[in-house]
Protein backbone atom coordinates (compact mmCIF):
# COMPACT_ATOMS: atom_id res chain seq x y z
CA UNK A 1 0.00 0.00 0.00
CA UNK A 2 1.29 3.40 -0.98
CA UNK A 3 -0.63 5.24 1.67
CA UNK A 4 2.28 7.15 3.17
CA UNK A 5 2.52 9.33 0.05
CA UNK A 6 -1.24 9.94 0.31
CA UNK A 7 -0.69 11.08 3.90
CA UNK A 8 1.85 13.56 2.59
CA UNK A 9 -0.30 14.65 -0.35
CA UNK A 10 -3.35 15.26 1.86
CA UNK A 11 -1.10 17.21 4.24
CA UNK A 12 -0.01 19.48 1.39
CA UNK A 13 -3.64 19.88 0.25
CA UNK A 14 -4.71 20.82 3.77
CA UNK A 15 -1.84 23.32 3.92
CA UNK A 16 -3.17 25.09 0.82
CA UNK A 17 -6.76 24.66 2.04
CA UNK A 18 -6.10 26.77 5.14
CA UNK A 19 -6.36 29.75 2.78
CA UNK A 20 -10.08 28.93 2.49
CA UNK A 21 -10.36 28.81 6.29
CA UNK A 22 -8.59 32.16 6.61
CA UNK A 23 -10.74 33.71 3.89
CA UNK A 24 -13.89 32.49 5.66
CA UNK A 25 -12.86 33.78 9.12
CA UNK A 26 -11.57 37.14 7.83
CA UNK A 27 -14.78 37.56 5.80
CA UNK A 28 -16.87 36.85 8.90
CA UNK A 29 -14.90 39.54 10.72
CA UNK A 30 -15.18 41.97 7.79
CA UNK A 31 -18.93 42.11 7.32
CA UNK A 32 -22.05 40.81 5.53
CA UNK A 33 -20.86 41.57 1.97
CA UNK A 34 -17.54 39.73 2.37
CA UNK A 35 -19.28 36.82 4.10
CA UNK A 36 -21.83 36.56 1.29
CA UNK A 37 -18.93 36.21 -1.17
CA UNK A 38 -17.55 33.22 0.74
CA UNK A 39 -21.00 31.65 0.94
CA UNK A 40 -21.54 32.18 -2.78
CA UNK A 41 -18.25 30.37 -3.45
CA UNK A 42 -18.73 27.50 -0.98
CA UNK A 43 -22.31 27.10 -2.21
CA UNK A 44 -21.28 26.77 -5.85
CA UNK A 45 -20.60 23.40 -7.46
CA UNK A 46 -16.84 23.96 -7.63
CA UNK A 47 -16.83 25.34 -4.08
CA UNK A 48 -18.70 22.32 -2.78
CA UNK A 49 -16.29 19.97 -4.56
CA UNK A 50 -13.33 21.77 -2.97
CA UNK A 51 -14.86 21.68 0.52
CA UNK A 52 -15.80 18.02 0.03
CA UNK A 53 -12.22 17.28 -1.02
CA UNK A 54 -10.97 19.27 1.96
CA UNK A 55 -13.21 17.24 4.30
CA UNK A 56 -11.85 14.00 2.88
CA UNK A 57 -8.22 15.20 3.06
CA UNK A 58 -8.74 16.17 6.72
CA UNK A 59 -10.43 12.91 7.72
CA UNK A 60 -7.95 10.77 5.83
CA UNK A 61 -4.92 12.66 7.15
CA UNK A 62 -6.32 12.39 10.68
CA UNK A 63 -6.89 8.61 10.56
CA UNK A 64 -3.67 8.00 8.67
CA UNK A 65 -1.96 10.02 11.39
CA UNK A 66 -3.55 7.88 14.12
CA UNK A 67 -2.04 4.91 12.28
CA UNK A 68 1.37 6.54 12.66
CA UNK A 69 0.72 6.90 16.39
CA UNK A 70 0.27 3.15 16.68
CA UNK A 71 3.63 2.70 15.00
CA UNK A 72 5.29 5.42 17.13
CA UNK A 73 4.12 3.56 20.22
CA UNK A 74 5.54 0.32 18.90
CA UNK A 75 2.33 -1.49 17.90
CA UNK A 76 0.97 -2.77 14.61
CA UNK A 77 4.14 -3.81 12.82
CA UNK A 78 3.01 -7.30 11.81
CA UNK A 79 2.07 -7.64 8.15
CA UNK A 80 -1.63 -8.24 8.82
CA UNK A 81 -1.72 -5.41 11.39
CA UNK A 82 -0.11 -2.97 8.98
CA UNK A 83 -2.66 -3.93 6.33
CA UNK A 84 -5.55 -3.56 8.79
CA UNK A 85 -4.40 -0.11 9.97
CA UNK A 86 -3.86 1.08 6.42
CA UNK A 87 -7.19 -0.18 5.09
CA UNK A 88 -8.90 1.12 8.21
CA UNK A 89 -7.54 4.61 7.59
CA UNK A 90 -8.36 4.50 3.85
CA UNK A 91 -11.93 3.27 4.27
CA UNK A 92 -12.55 5.17 7.52
CA UNK A 93 -11.57 8.44 5.87
CA UNK A 94 -14.15 7.97 3.12
CA UNK A 95 -16.86 6.80 5.55
CA UNK A 96 -16.33 9.76 7.92
CA UNK A 97 -16.35 12.22 5.00
CA UNK A 98 -19.65 10.88 3.68
CA UNK A 99 -21.16 10.82 7.20
CA UNK A 100 -20.15 14.44 7.84
CA UNK A 101 -21.74 15.54 4.56
CA UNK A 102 -24.94 13.59 5.24
CA UNK A 103 -25.23 15.33 8.64
CA UNK A 104 -24.39 18.69 7.04
CA UNK A 105 -27.13 18.33 4.44
CA UNK A 106 -29.59 16.96 7.01
CA UNK A 107 -29.25 20.06 9.21
CA UNK A 108 -29.67 22.44 6.31
CA UNK A 109 -26.18 23.08 5.00
CA UNK A 110 -27.42 22.25 1.50
CA UNK A 111 -29.55 25.38 1.33
Amino acid sequence: MALSIVHRATGIALYAGTLLLVWWLVAAASGPAAYANVQAFTGSIIGRLIVFGYTWALMHHMLSGVRHFFWDLGYGFKANEREALTWGAAIGGIVLTVLIWIVAYAIGGGR
Partner: protein, 134 residues
Protein backbone atom coordinates in the same frame (compact mmCIF):
# COMPACT_ATOMS: atom_id res chain seq x y z
CA UNK B 1 45.96 26.00 14.79
CA UNK B 2 45.63 25.86 18.53
CA UNK B 3 41.83 25.73 18.64
CA UNK B 4 41.66 22.16 17.51
CA UNK B 5 37.95 21.93 18.27
CA UNK B 6 36.94 24.49 15.65
CA UNK B 7 39.65 24.08 13.03
CA UNK B 8 38.71 22.44 9.78
CA UNK B 9 42.15 20.87 9.75
CA UNK B 10 41.54 19.11 13.05
CA UNK B 11 41.90 15.35 13.09
CA UNK B 12 39.05 15.12 15.60
CA UNK B 13 35.82 13.70 14.29
CA UNK B 14 32.54 15.61 14.75
CA UNK B 15 31.40 12.90 17.14
CA UNK B 16 34.60 13.19 19.13
CA UNK B 17 34.07 16.93 19.56
CA UNK B 18 30.59 16.63 21.02
CA UNK B 19 31.03 13.44 23.03
CA UNK B 20 30.44 13.85 26.78
CA UNK B 21 28.95 17.31 26.32
CA UNK B 22 25.44 15.91 26.83
CA UNK B 23 22.33 16.05 24.67
CA UNK B 24 21.24 19.36 23.18
CA UNK B 25 17.64 18.46 24.16
CA UNK B 26 16.30 20.12 21.04
CA UNK B 27 17.13 17.41 18.51
CA UNK B 28 13.64 15.92 18.55
CA UNK B 29 11.65 19.10 19.22
CA UNK B 30 9.95 19.16 15.81
CA UNK B 31 9.17 15.44 16.03
CA UNK B 32 7.63 15.96 19.47
CA UNK B 33 5.67 19.11 18.58
CA UNK B 34 4.27 17.54 15.42
CA UNK B 35 2.76 14.78 17.55
CA UNK B 36 1.74 17.17 20.32
CA UNK B 37 -0.21 19.35 17.88
CA UNK B 38 -1.64 16.24 16.19
CA UNK B 39 -3.09 14.98 19.50
CA UNK B 40 -4.40 18.47 20.25
CA UNK B 41 -6.25 18.57 16.91
CA UNK B 42 -7.51 15.02 17.40
CA UNK B 43 -9.09 16.09 20.71
CA UNK B 44 -10.47 19.29 19.18
CA UNK B 45 -11.83 17.68 16.00
CA UNK B 46 -15.34 16.87 17.27
CA UNK B 47 -15.94 20.33 18.86
CA UNK B 48 -14.62 22.00 15.68
CA UNK B 49 -16.93 19.88 13.49
CA UNK B 50 -19.87 20.79 15.74
CA UNK B 51 -19.02 24.48 15.37
CA UNK B 52 -18.80 24.19 11.58
CA UNK B 53 -22.17 22.39 11.52
CA UNK B 54 -23.70 25.15 13.65
CA UNK B 55 -22.51 27.76 11.17
CA UNK B 56 -23.82 26.02 8.04
CA UNK B 57 -26.55 27.87 6.20
CA UNK B 58 -26.52 30.87 8.54
CA UNK B 59 -26.20 34.42 7.32
CA UNK B 60 -23.46 36.79 8.48
CA UNK B 61 -25.27 38.02 11.60
CA UNK B 62 -25.95 34.48 12.81
CA UNK B 63 -22.44 33.27 12.04
CA UNK B 64 -20.81 36.30 13.69
CA UNK B 65 -22.87 35.75 16.83
CA UNK B 66 -21.77 32.11 17.14
CA UNK B 67 -18.12 32.87 16.33
CA UNK B 68 -17.98 35.57 19.00
CA UNK B 69 -19.06 33.29 21.87
CA UNK B 70 -16.23 32.47 24.27
CA UNK B 71 -16.12 28.65 24.01
CA UNK B 72 -16.35 28.75 20.21
CA UNK B 73 -13.62 31.40 19.94
CA UNK B 74 -11.34 29.48 22.33
CA UNK B 75 -11.79 26.14 20.55
CA UNK B 76 -11.11 27.72 17.16
CA UNK B 77 -8.06 29.62 18.46
CA UNK B 78 -6.60 26.43 19.91
CA UNK B 79 -7.29 24.52 16.70
CA UNK B 80 -5.76 27.24 14.52
CA UNK B 81 -2.67 27.51 16.71
CA UNK B 82 -2.16 23.72 16.63
CA UNK B 83 -2.81 23.40 12.90
CA UNK B 84 -0.53 26.30 11.90
CA UNK B 85 2.30 24.82 13.94
CA UNK B 86 1.63 21.30 12.68
CA UNK B 87 1.52 22.34 9.02
CA UNK B 88 4.69 24.43 9.38
CA UNK B 89 6.60 21.40 10.66
CA UNK B 90 5.04 19.06 8.10
CA UNK B 91 5.79 21.29 5.12
CA UNK B 92 9.36 21.80 6.33
CA UNK B 93 9.84 18.02 6.29
CA UNK B 94 8.49 17.92 2.73
CA UNK B 95 10.81 20.77 1.66
CA UNK B 96 13.84 19.14 3.27
CA UNK B 97 13.02 15.88 1.51
CA UNK B 98 12.57 17.25 -2.01
CA UNK B 99 14.43 20.58 -2.32
CA UNK B 100 18.12 19.84 -2.57
CA UNK B 101 19.40 23.21 -3.76
CA UNK B 102 20.65 24.83 -0.54
CA UNK B 103 19.58 28.41 -1.35
CA UNK B 104 16.19 27.38 -2.67
CA UNK B 105 15.73 25.24 0.41
CA UNK B 106 16.46 28.18 2.73
CA UNK B 107 14.04 30.42 0.83
CA UNK B 108 11.34 27.72 0.83
CA UNK B 109 11.69 27.10 4.57
CA UNK B 110 11.48 30.84 5.19
CA UNK B 111 8.37 31.25 3.01
CA UNK B 112 6.83 28.26 4.79
CA UNK B 113 7.36 30.00 8.13
CA UNK B 114 5.93 33.27 6.81
CA UNK B 115 2.85 31.54 5.36
CA UNK B 116 2.13 29.54 8.52
CA UNK B 117 2.51 32.56 10.79
CA UNK B 118 0.35 34.65 8.44
CA UNK B 119 -2.41 32.01 8.47
CA UNK B 120 -2.30 31.81 12.26
CA UNK B 121 -2.26 35.58 12.79
CA UNK B 122 -4.95 36.43 10.22
CA UNK B 123 -7.31 33.83 11.69
CA UNK B 124 -6.55 34.89 15.25
CA UNK B 125 -7.12 38.54 14.39
CA UNK B 126 -10.46 37.69 12.76
CA UNK B 127 -11.68 35.69 15.77
CA UNK B 128 -10.57 38.34 18.28
CA UNK B 129 -12.24 41.04 16.18
CA UNK B 130 -15.48 39.04 16.14
CA UNK B 131 -15.21 38.43 19.89
CA UNK B 132 -14.68 42.10 20.66
CA UNK B 133 -17.84 42.90 18.69
CA UNK B 134 -16.29 45.87 16.84
Amino acid sequence: MSTAGTSKRSMRTPLGRVRNLGAAHSGTSDFWRQRLTAVAMLLLMIPVLVIVMMLLGRNHAGAAQILSSLPVALILLLFIFASAWHMKIGMQVVIEDYVHNEKLKLVSVMLNNFFSVAVALASTYAILKLSSGV
